[in-house]
């Protein structure tokens, strides 16, 4: 029983990698531009989940040194990945916004969202 619980601790990593692969699959195989942007966004979320999972500690406390709790450093959740993921989420949001703006431009220009019909340049 203990062993199976051990595995459960790693499910979050599995979920993160699964999200990453789903996103990559969507971005590479779908024909609709919107779905490609969705795929890229899902892929980003997968990495963000992985980052959080790396810093997470079961039953951990907030990384604040307060009086009476000076020696609990080993119990603290690592704050660095959370700071990083905040930055990464903002960047991912920006990139998604730019991507959608480009999709609108492409739609106005070609009147279609299917990527195989937009091929003025060599793909």
């Amino acid at each position: 029983m203990e062993k199976y619980l051990e595995i459960l601790n790693y499910t979050i990593y599995g979920a993160a990698i699964l999200l990453l692969l789903i996103g990559l699959y969507g971005a590479l195989t779908k024909k609709s531009l919107i779905k490609i942007v969705l795929g890229l966004s899902i892929m980003d979320s997968g990495v963000h989940l992985l980052m959080i999972a790396i810093g997470y500690l079961k039953n951990g406390t907030a990384p604040i040194f307060s009086p009476g709790h000076e020696n609990e450093m080993s119990k603290m959740v690592d704050p660095v990945p959370q700071a990083l993921v905040l930055t990464a989420i903002v960047i991912g949001f920006g990139v998604t916004a730019v991507a959608l703006a480009l999709v609108i431009r492409l739609y106005k220009h070609h009147n279609t969202l299917r990527i195989d019909e937009i091929k003025n340049l060599k793909w």
Binding site: L20, L24, A27, L33, I36, L40, M43, D44, V47, L50, M51, I54, V80, P81, L84, T87, A88, I91, G94, V95, V98, A99, L102, V103, R105, L106, H109, I118, N120, L121, K122, W123
Partner: protein, 494 residues
């Protein structure tokens, strides 16, 4: 006047946000402020580059958090040289496009200059930062402003090129984050110097995996062979001067990042061979593809990719001579390819599709631009009185010192291909009759100033290579000195 490295990031970023405000009061300020900012940065970086020859590397601690905890900026001979080169090119791109979109209203020009400032900020940031996550942030700044600049013209197929670039770019950023997290989970640090210091403790398999993710991510930005599908379209669709900015600024920063990884962070001996193989593939395939191009800008783009392959080969040799040759190639490629993009844009100005045949007979109608293009072409082929000759010589002698005879043969054979497609264009410029329908566009004064100053630099370096070799030599020594880099950063106590 000696500034601190943080000014190189703060000032252009501030300018990018201030331009729209001042533009509401005085319209011309959106064109003038970037120039003032970039010239100030150039003065700062040249004086700082001068300063560090006496005092050694300058390390700036941000917000009082000493490395390895806080973010630090490093102005070493190597990163300082690249930063100075980028700022100089940024200034020239500004000078070239000073009158950009003058005839229309101010809004497109406003966006153009904001994005240009952000592009310079991001690239200089990549070069100066000593923190790997910070580097990721700067790569994203470069990426987003690059997408914006690529899709600048609404009437061309630019949105298509920009979407392609964005697609590759966001996959690259995902891989980069993955690689950074693998390293962080193993070593518990994001500081490049500390990662380099602790790298022997890391498991070899994870080391290889993270290196592969890094090379995949940065290879996309650095136009390495199988990952460079976006580059020719971006160069073709973006405004003319932005092609020069990509070739001279963006790609250089990506090359810096990959070199910093392989030379400083990772201690894998096979990494240099990987560099060499990727470089060879890129060089051979890009140059032979350039031979088949019918559009001028696409040809220049493939030539640019090929030159980056040559730079990677030179870094892959791994000796100090090799690094010296690579830096010389970086310098030459930056000034020569910018000149080619600048003058080439005028040769095919306002032509739909920008075919090479549009340059027919331009030698008579645009004499100065044609001569400058010819200087650039001769220099990049590596003919003797120009700057390009010395860098080709440097890489060949570096290869000869390392007993890589096959490499010399490959470089020379591919250089012939290069000569063929450049001389073909020059032949058309001077010896083909001009078509009646094509109309020549005279370059503006500021564009002429930018082009002529580049041409003068190419010729002066060609006659007096000693002017630049001292700086390059110090930069090469600095890059090879890994323990010095670690010591400089981790023992800082100001």
């Amino acid at each position: 006047m000696v500034g601190t490295p943080v000014l190189f990031i703060v000032i252009p970023l501030l300018a990018a946000f201030i331009i729209p405000l001042t533009g509401m009061v005085w319209k011309n300020s959106i064109r003038i402020i970037p120039g003032i900012v970039l010239s100030y940065m150039l003065v700062l970086s040249v004086s700082l580059l001068w300063h560090i020859t006496e005092t050694g590397t300058v390390v700036e601690v941000i917000a009082g958090w000493k490395p390895p905890i806080g973010i630090n900026l490093v102005f070493s001979p190597f990163s300082g040289f690249l930063a100075t080169l980028m700022i100089f090119l940024g200034l020239l791109v500004w000078a070239y496009s000073y009158k950009f979109k003058r005839s229309i209203d101010s809004e497109p020009a406003l966006k153009y200059f904001i994005l240009l400032m952000l592009l310079v900020t991001g690239s200089v940031g990549i070069v100066l930062t000593g923190d790997i996550f910070n580097m990721f942030v700067f790569i994203e700044i470069v990426g987003i402003s690059g997408y914006g600049l690529t899709s600048f013209y609404t009437r061309r197929d630019s949105a298509e090129a920009a979407f392609k670039y964005l697609f590759m770019g966001s996959i690259a950023s995902t891989f980069l984050l993955l690689a950074i997290m693998i390293i962080y989970s193993q070593l518990g640090t994001l500081n490049i110097a500390e990662i380099a210091d602790k790298m022997p403790m890391m498991d070899n398999k994870l080391k290889v995996i993270s290196l592969i993710f890094f090379i995949l991510a940065i290879g996309i930005e650095a136009e390495v062979f199988p990952l460079n599908g976006w580059a020719p379209d971006v160069y073709t669709q973006a405004p003319g001067p932005i092609g020069a900015a990509f070739a001279g600024i963006v790609v250089k920063s990506a090359i810096y990042a990959s070199v910093r990884l392989v030379y400083t962070m990772f201690d894998l001996s096979g990494a240099l061979d990987l560099f060499m193989i990727l470089g060879l593939f890129t060089f051979i395939i890009a140059e032979s593809t350039a031979l088949r191009q019918e559009r001028l800008k696409r040809m220049l783009a493939y030539s640019s990719i090929g030159q980056m392959g040559l730079v990677m080969i030179a870094f892959g040799i791994g000796t100090k001579e090799g690094v010296f040759a690579a830096l010389f190639l970086i310098f030459n490629h930056a000034i020569i390819k910018s000149l080619l993009f600048f003058s080439g844009s005028y040769l095919v100005y306002n032509k739909k599709n920008k075919y090479i045949k549009h340059v027919n007979g331009m030698g008579k109608y645009l004499p100065i631009t044609s001569v400058l293009f010819t200087i650039g072409a001769f220099a990049i082929i590596g003919l003797p009185p120009f700057a390009g000759f010395w860098s080709k010589l440097a890489i060949l002698s570096a290869a000869a010192d390392s007993k890589m005879i096959v490499l010399i043969a490959v470089i020379l054979i591919v250089s012939i291909l290069e000569a063929v497609y450049y001389l073909r264009v020059i032949n058309r410029i001077y010896f083909f009759p001009k078509k009646e329908s094509t109309e020549a566009q005279k370059p503006t004064i500021n564009a002429l100033i930018a082009m002529i100053s580049l041409g003068i630099i190419i010729i002066v370096i060609g006659f007096y290579p000693d002017l630049i070799t001292g700086i390059l030599d110090r930069a090469a020594t600095d890059l090879m000195d890994k323990t010095g880099y670690i010591k400089d950063i981790l023992t800082i106590n100001n």
